[in-house]
């Protein structure tokens, strides 16, 4: 019985680490790529949250719960091979990573998607994907937030 519990726990831990790794791996893979620009902010995230203009209270509240932000920018035509394969990889990670779509907006040629994910250990991820004709941005916010907290913020936003 003990063995069974240990094996089950090991599988759970492995599965959760694989989930987190895939997004981590995508950022690692393209961060050093010369065609991409990569920005990482940890300690200064609070400054950004307070400095953001035109952002509602709820979004700022959510931002304050986040501990780090990583941004990947690809300045290339959306139809290019690189942009296509990058978006494909990202879509796969979103589909397999149990992300939930919060916002999907389309404005002329610009598309923005916001996804959220909270695991059993309250590790919260927020993913903002912006697709423009000549630029793709992936913004990954990481922090600690329970599902209830996330839900509350979402309801306040409604």
């Amino acid at each position: 019985m003990k063995k069974l519990i240990v094996t089950f726990a090991a599988i759970l831990i492995f599965a959760s680490s694989v989930k987190a790794q895939s997004l981590e791996n995508l950022f690692k893979k393209y961060a050093d790529d010369e065609r991409f620009e990569f920005v990482s902010v940890g300690s200064g995230l609070m400054n950004i949250a307070s400095a953001l203009g035109g952002v509602d209270k709820e979004a700022k509240n959510m931002m304050s719960k986040m501990k780090s932000i990583k941004i990947l920018t690809l300045e290339e035509n959306l139809n290019s091979h690189l942009a296509n394969s990058f978006i494909k990889e990202l879509d796969n990670i979103i589909a397999n990573g149990e992300f939930e779509t919060i916002v999907e907006s389309r404005e002329k040629n610009e598309r923005t998607y916001i996804y959220k994910r909270v695991d059993a250990k309250d590790n919260a991820d927020m993913l903002i994907v912006t697709k423009e004709p000549r630029e793709t941005n992936v913004i990954w916010l990481k922090g600690k937030m329970s599902k209830q907290e996330m839900q509350k913020i979402m309801q306040e936003d409604d």
Binding site: D33, V39, G44, L52, V55, I71, S105, T130
Partner: protein
């Protein structure tokens, strides 16, 4: 005796030959030293003692035997090597995590906290502004709905009043 005097003269003039110097050495090393030569005895006996002195043996560095490496010593060296490497890795990793604010542009890492924050702020603002723009019609729709509700309320009140007066 005269011979000795002659050689001594040559010796002090620096013109004596090696064989003559040998002669002096054997003379002063012997027992029959004339009284007038007693003064020089010490000088020439020194030569004898010098001869008996041996130059110290210089052992080449290569010849020095290295202490044999024991198994324990080998293990100690390996472990301390690994420990040093781990320490270096931890220190490097720690310093990397400490500087979390950075930018990688054209494959080059720029450790500039201010620059990283500014870029992140710009990109976030841009994304949020796109969302806000697309949400604008929805907001307007909400406002219209609220206004319509008020109009409906007023018309309902009017209807109610009409009904009351008719009754």
């Amino acid at each position: 005796m005269e011979r000795i005097n002659e050689i001594l003269k040559k010796y002090f003039e620096g013109t004596s030959s090696l064989s003559e110097e040998k002669e002096l050495k054997t003379y002063f090393n012997g027992q029959n030293i004339a009284e007038e030569h007693e003064v020089y005895k010490a000088v020439f006996q020194n030569f004898v003692s010098e001869k008996s002195e041996q130059t110290p043996q210089i052992t080449p560095i290569k010849a020095i035997e290295k202490p044999k490496r024991t198994f324990k010593r080998n293990i100690f060296l390996t472990i301390s090597g690994i420990a040093a490497t781990l320490l270096l890795m931890i220190t490097t990793a720690r310093s990397q995590t400490l500087s979390e604010d950075y930018v990688i542009s054209n494959g080059k890492r720029i450790n500039n906290s201010e620059m990283a924050q500014k870029l992140a702020e710009e990109k976030l603002s841009k994304s949020f502004s796109i969302i806000n723009q697309s949400m604008e019609p929805m907001d307007n729709l909400g406002k219209i709905e609220k206004k319509l509700e008020k109009v409906n309320k007023v018309s309902n009140i009017k209807d109610n009043n009409k009904n009351k007066t008719l009754k």
